[in-house]
């Protein structure tokens, strides 16, 4: 669980349910299917409404905590784990300030229940830098002054880093699309676009070896 880059395959499921529906899961490996069949016998598991012990895998570290089922992931990260880099602005899914990654997919921590994360790997803004060295996107945000009040910034960075991880040479439209849900009241969008595009350009032109390694996950 220490590698936040590695998607988890331990989600439980029950493929037999496919007989009730015509739909079936196409992409699961044989291994995962066998695992599901074993786990299926567990049946439903009820938790709460009181405190329930859970484990959250955040930025490669497993944290044990007790939560009520109604606690959101944003609250768990900020209030229980002290990871206040993730911001909460609207708390309703409308602004994307609270963007984190679940298994590398940008999602909203304010609209996710902590108890529902399971074994998925959580990456927050605190997990983007390497030690005290900023991620290139963070450094480019600083260079381009891509923030004013800074409330939207962690969410913006999470969207932009995820974009570059899946598309190393985005166009301006790709960047706009990636942050289309991230609202910035201060109007920093042009600088966000410039910073992200510069990182993409720089990786391609300046240091092809490092960027190639990054893409391989090295």
């Amino acid at each position: 669980m220490s590698d936040p880059q590695k998607p988890s395959i331990s989600r439980r499921g029950f493929l037999k349910a496919a007989s009730v529906t015509a739909a079936s899961t196409l992409v699961e490996s044989v291994h995962a299917v066998a695992k599901e069949a074993n786990e299926a016998s567990r049946g439903p598991r009820t938790s709460g409404p009181g405190l329930v012990p859970i484990v959250l895998h955040v930025n490669g570290i497993a944290h044990s905590l007790t939560v009520e089922p109604r606690l959101t992931l944003a609250e768990a990260l900020r209030d229980s784990l002290g990871l206040t880099g993730t911001k909460v602005v609207c708390d309703r899914g409308s602004c994307s300030a609270c963007t984190i990654w679940l298994d590398k997919l940008p999602t909203l921590s304010c609209m996710t229940l902590a108890i529902d994360v399971g074994s998925r790997n959580i990456t927050t803004i605190e997990g983007i830098a390497t030690g005290s060295q900023l991620h290139p996107v963070q450094a480019a945000f600083v260079k381009h002054d891509a923030m004013q009040c800074g409330f939207c910034t962690p969410g913006m960075v999470m969207s932009c880093v995820a974009l570059l991880d899946r598309n190393p040479s985005p166009t301006l439209d790709d960047v706009k699309h990636a942050v289309s849900g991230n609202l910035c009241r201060c109007g920093t969008y042009p600088k966000v676009f410039a910073a992200t595009l510069e990182v993409a350009q720089g990786r391609k032109l300046v240091n092809p070896i490092i960027s190639a390694n990054r893409e391989k996950g090295a």
């Binding site: 499921g13 015509a22 739909a23 439903p44 938790s47 709460g48 999602t107 909203l108 529902d116």
Partner: protein
């Protein structure tokens, strides 16, 4: 948010067992959490179906497209076969909400989400839908409300995926402990005239277990467009799905659906009749747009939506027919 128990289910059978009074099904959780945080609903139990593997996935066959209800909007939007053969559906899924929400929201939950109305979604207004005696939108702030079927309750149904799915004559399979049944999507939504308590025909103990879209007839082309207040992402002010079965440049048959025009997604029969057998060009497309809203009954502040619907309909007809490009001022048009 109220306190609740949380039940993780790994099979449809288990989930159906848990769907007792006071319990609600949770898929992506976006609409549920929204309503719970605002105190509009307070389920005692959330039945978590998110991890039921058999309800997740897309199967394309000769007969058509079978979609597991837990398939996310992002997965629908990115599927190459859907992009190619069921274009309006991938476009609708890809333009709903935000990238983050599309990674979380499921198509089953998208069809089942409650309508949008700020009076309904505010605990301070005991409106008709919440057992009260008044629809506050009739005399209140109604710029985002319904322009048709709005006499009793003027909420709009915002499901972007329902628009093309209805136009493509999709069916929904429902399961309960008593068995399964299949319902055409055009019988799925309930108007306020039919019932003020229910918004769909889905019963409390029923689960959507699959969505089926029949294979398109030869010569079918489809398109979806959505207009909002912003170009980046927004709730729709007007959206339309168009499916045309073309015979050369003549329209053999048309299916046109309007989103957020009424309390349910709405098929524009008058516009469909107008296109049938005709050559598709700007004049016929504009006439169809006009016909679609001819019986609109706008409220004090939403007359502009009548014009907006005419525009989205005619432009989406021409987009489906391959005669116009996607409107850059539509939501997601960018550039």
């Amino acid at each position: 948010m109220n306190r609740f128990s949380f039940v993780d289910c790994t099979s449809v059978h288990d989930a159906l067992d848990q769907m007792n009074h006071g319990a609600m099904v949770k898929a992506g959780g976006i609409d549920l959490l929204d309503l719970m945080k605002d105190g509009i609903i307070a389920p005692s139990t959330l039945v978590n179906i998110r991890q039921i593997k058999g309800l997740h996935g897309i199967v394309v066959s000769q007969q058509g497209l079978t979609i597991g209800p837990l398939t996310t909007l992002a997965e629908l939007a990115a599927h190459p076969d859907i992009q190619q053969k069921y274009t309006a559906l991938s476009d609708a899924a890809g333009h709903a909400a935000t990238p983050q929400i599309r990674n979380m929201a499921t198509v089953g939950g998208n069809l089942m989400q409650r309508q949008r109305c700020w009076y309904f979604r505010s605990a301070e207004f005991p409106c008709l839908r919440k057992g009260g005696s008044e629809c506050f939108a009739q005399q209140g702030q109604n710029q985002y409300h319904a322009i048709m079927g709005n006499q009793i309750c003027a909420m709009v149904h915002p499901s972007s995926t329902a628009v093309p799915l209805l136009a493509m004559e999709a069916h929904v399979e429902l399961a309960s402990k008593k068995g399964t049944r299949t319902v055409a999507l055009n019988k799925f939504y309930v108007t306020p005239e039919e019932s003020i308590e229910n918004e769909t025909i889905v019963k409390e103990d029923e689960l959507i277990t699959s969505i089926f879209v029949p294979s398109p007839a030869k010569g079918t082309r489809s398109a979806y467009q959505k207009y909002g207040e912003k170009e980046s992402f927004d709730w729709p002010l007007a959206d339309a799905g168009v499916v045309l079965v073309m015979d050369g440049d003549h329209c053999h048959s048309a299916s046109i659906v309007l989103g957020v025009a009424a309390p349910t997604p709405l098929r524009a029969k008058a516009a469909e009749v107008l296109l049938t057998g005709k050559r598709i060009d700007e004049a016929t497309a504009r006439a169809a747009g006009k016909a679609a809203v001819s019986d609109a009954t706008p409220l004090a502040q939403n007359g502009y939506k009548v014009q907006l619907f005419q525009t989205v309909i005619y432009r989406t007809i021409l987009l489906a027919a391959g005669q116009l490009k996607r409107d850059p001022s539509a939501v997601g048009g960018l550039a």
